[in-house]
C-alpha cells in the first residue's frame, strides 16, 4: 500500500504539490515511485524555466521505463532539488521528502483544481 499524505494536493498524473505562500513544491508520489521501480535519473528543469500546468517539465527514468513529469501548476522554477542529480534513488526512499522543483506560482487558484488525498487514493486503487 502506497503512502498518501493528507495535507497536500495531487495530479492524476501522479505528481504532488504543496503550496506555501506563492511557492509550490512539486514531486512525484509514493505510488509513482513504486510503479517505476528503481529510479536511475531525474530529468529536471532549469531554474528560471517557465512551467505550465498540464505540460511536461521533465522526466523520471528507471532502468526500463521512463515517465514524463507533468507540472500540476504554472509559474517560474525557482529551485530544483540538486541532490537528485547524484542520488536519484532518494525518490524511492522517500518520494514526499525528496521534492523535484519549487515553483513561484503565477496563479495560486490553480491548486483548487487538483485532487485531495481521498480523491487521489481512489485513482491509485483503480
Amino acid at each position: 500500500m502506497s503512502k498518501i499524505l493528507d495535507d497536500i494536493r495531487y495530479a492524476d498524473s501522479h505528481e504532488w504539490v504543496k503550496l506555501e505562500g506563492d511557492i509550490a513544491t512539486v514531486g512525484i508520489t509514493d505510488y509513482a515511485q513504486h510503479a517505476l521501480g528503481d529510479i536511475v535519473y531525474v530529468d529536471m528543469p532549469e531554474v528560471g524555466d517557465e512551467v505550465t500546468k498540464g505540460e511536461e517539465f521533465g522526466a523520471v527514468e528507471s532502468v526500463k521505463a521512463a515517465s514524463d513529469l507533468i507540472s500540476p501548476i504554472s509559474g517560474e522554477v525557482v529551485e530544483i532539488n540538486e541532490a537528485l542529480e547524484d542520488e536519484p534513488g532518494l525518490v524511492n526512499q522517500d518520494a514526499f521528502g525528496n521534492w523535484i522543483m519549487k515553483v513561484k506560482v503565477s496563479d495560486a487558484s490553480e491548486i483548487e483544481g487538483l485532487l485531495d488525498a481521498a480523491a487521489y487514493a481512489k485513482i491509485c486503487e483503480e
Binding site: 526500463k64 521505463a65 521512463a66 514524463d68
Partner: protein, 442 residues
C-alpha cells in the same frame, strides 16, 4: 522441397500440419484474402548452386576495376591488418543479435565497451555511444542533440567546409524534422567563424557544426571559437576523422560539446561505400541526449565484472515518439572492426599511419606544384593526408588517362579545384608514376 537452408521433408510437414490441426500449408494462409495470394512467377533467376554462384560473382567482379586510389572524399584507402578480417569471421560475433540477454552476450558488450573507450580516447570526450550508421547520419543526430539540449532554439548553423555528402544528409534530416539550417559559405577554404558567430546573434541558434580536417583537407584552427559559441549559449559539434585525431588537436581540446565522424578511416575496406560506421562522442552533460545504444560496466550478483546496455530509458522501444532518436541498433560488427584495428595499431601505429600519409601527401603536393600546372588552392593552409589544388588542366581527361593506367585520380570539385588523398598504403613509386602520367598529359 528440401533445400540446404530449409530442412523440412514431406514427412516433417505432414507431422507438423497434423499437430496444428490443418490440412495443408494453404490453410496456414486462409486468413489472407485470396486475391492477394501471389500466383505469378517472380522475376528472379532459378536457384544457383555454390559453383554457379561463385561464377556469377566472379563475372560481376570482372566488370569492376581495382584501382590505385589517390582520392578520398570521405572514403580512404587505408591499410587493413589481416587479423581484423579473420576475427570478424568468428560467427559467435557476426551471427548474434543486439545484446538483449547480457548473460550470453558478454563478448559483444565488452567489445562495445572497448570501442567506446578507444573512440573516447581519440576524441577526448567522456562518452561515446556504441556506433551509428555513418559519419553523415551521426552529424545529423548531433544536430538533433544540440536542438534538444536547448529547449527553445530551432536553428543550426553549419559551415560549408563540411563535405558535400555530409551537408546533403544533414540538410535532408533538418528539412523533414523541421529544423532551420543555415549553411555559412567558406572563406579561403575554412569556416568563416565571424560570419557564423554573427548568425548566432539572433539568439535562435542551438549550435554550430564544423569539421576537421575539412572538405578541402585543411586542418582548421578553432582557437577561441567554442568559448564564443558557449557565450552565446550555443553548442559546438566538430566532425572529425577519427584516424587523424591520433595526432590532431581533439574536439575536446577545441572545447567542442559533441564529436562525430566516419570510422571508415580506421582501416575499413572501401567496399563501394559501406559498411563503415559513424561515431558520436559527447561531454558528460549531454550524455542523456545522445542517441543510440550505450554499454556500461557493472557487476553480477556474484561480484564478477560484466557489461550491460544502459541508459535505455532514452530509447525508442520505451519512449516511442518521445525518444531522443529512432536509432535502435548500431554498426556493431564495424565497431568490433574499429576496436580490433585500434588494438593492433596502438598509440604508436596510429601516429605512424598519420605520419606516412602526411609525408606522402606533402610529397605528392610538392611534386604536382613543381610541374607548374598546379597551384595550392588555399596557400599556406595546413593539411594532413588530403589536399586541394587549382589547375587549368582538363582534369576529366587527365583522370581518363589515369584510369587507363590503373589509377583513381583526384576528385574534381569544380571551378578548377581538384582534391588528392594519400594514405600509408601508397608508395613513393606510385606517387612518382602518378605525377609522371599527369605531367605527360599536361
Amino acid at each position: 522441397m528440401s533445400h540446404k537452408f530449409i530442412p523440412h521433408t514431406e514427412a516433417d510437414i505432414r507431422r507438423m500440419l497434423d499437430k496444428i490441426g490443418v490440412e495443408s500449408i494453404d490453410d496456414l494462409y486462409r486468413d489472407v484474402p485470396a486475391e492477394v495470394i501471389f500466383r505469378g512467377e517472380y522475376d528472379i533467376p532459378s536457384a544457383m548452386t555454390e559453383i554457379e554462384l561463385r561464377r556469377h560473382f566472379e563475372e560481376l567482379a570482372a566488370k569492376n576495376k581495382n584501382l590505385t586510389v589517390f582520392a578520398g572524399g570521405g572514403a580512404y584507402d587505408h591499410y587493413s591488418p589481416s587479423v581484423v578480417a579473420h576475427l570478424l569471421q568468428r560467427s559467435e560475433f557476426y551471427t548474434a543479435y543486439t545484446p538483449y540477454q547480457p548473460e550470453i552476450s558478454q563478448g559483444t558488450l565488452q567489445y562495445i565497451f572497448e570501442y567506446q573507450s578507444m573512440i573516447s580516447e581519440l576524441t577526448g570526450m567522456e562518452a561515446t555511444n556504441a556506433s551509428m550508421y555513418d559519419g553523415a547520419t551521426a552529424t545529423a543526430e548531433a544536430m538533433f542533440m544540440m536542438v534538444a539540449s536547448t529547449k527553445k532554439r530551432n536553428r543550426v548553423v553549419l559551415s560549408e567546409t563540411l563535405s558535400e555528402a555530409v551537408i546533403n544528409v544533414v540538410r535532408t534530416y533538418a528539412h523533414y524534422h523541421g529544423i532551420n539550417l543555415t549553411v555559412v559559405p567558406a572563406k579561403e577554404g575554412v569556416s568563416d567563424q565571424e560570419a557564423i558567430l554573427k548568425e548566432m546573434e539572433a539568439g535562435d541558434v542551438a549550435g554550430v557544426i564544423v569539421s576537421c580536417p575539412n572538405r578541402y583537407g585543411i586542418i582548421e584552427d578553432f582557437t577561441g571559437f567554442a568559448d564564443k559559441i558557449h557565450a552565446l549559449k550555443g553548442f559546438l559539434t566538430i566532425n572529425a576523422d577519427p584516424s587523424a585525431l591520433a595526432v590532431l588537436r581533439t574536439p575536446a581540446e577545441w572545447g567542442a560539446d559533441i564529436a562525430v565522424g566516419d570510422g571508415q578511416t580506421l582501416g575499413m575496406p572501401l567496399q563501394f561505400g559501406g559498411p563503415y560506421l559513424g561515431y558520436i562522442s559527447c561531454s558528460k552533460t549531454m550524455l542523456r541526449k545522445m542517441p543510440g545504444r550505450v554499454v556500461g560496466a557493472t557487476k553480477d550478483i556474484d561480484g564478477k565484472r560484466g557489461f550491460v546496455l544502459t541508459l535505455q530509458a532514452r530509447e525508442q522501444h520505451i519512449r516511442r515518439e518521445k525518444a531522443t532518436s529512432n536509432i535502435c541498433s548500431n554498426q556493431s560488427l564495424m565497431a568490433l572492426y574499429a576496436t580490433i584495428y585500434l588494438a593492433l595499431m596502438g598509440k604508436q601505429g596510429m601516429k605512424e599511419v598519420n605520419r606516412l600519409s602526411c609525408d606522402g601527401a606533402h610529397y605528392l603536393c610538392n611534386a604536382l606544384v613543381a610541374t607548374g600546372k598546379f597551384q595550392p588552392a588555399f596557400p599556406g593552409k595546413p593539411f594532413l593526408k588530403e589536399f586541394t589544388l587549382r589547375t587549368d588542366l582538363d582534369m576529366a581527361k587527365v583522370n581518363e588517362k589515369l584510369l587507363e593506367k590503373g589509377f583513381m585520380g583526384p576528385l574534381v570539385l569544380g571551378d578548377g579545384l581538384v582534391e588528392f588523398a594519400v594514405t600509408e598504403k601508397r608508395t613513393r613509386e606510385e606517387i612518382d608514376k602518378l605525377v609522371e602520367i599527369i605531367s605527360k598529359e599536361a
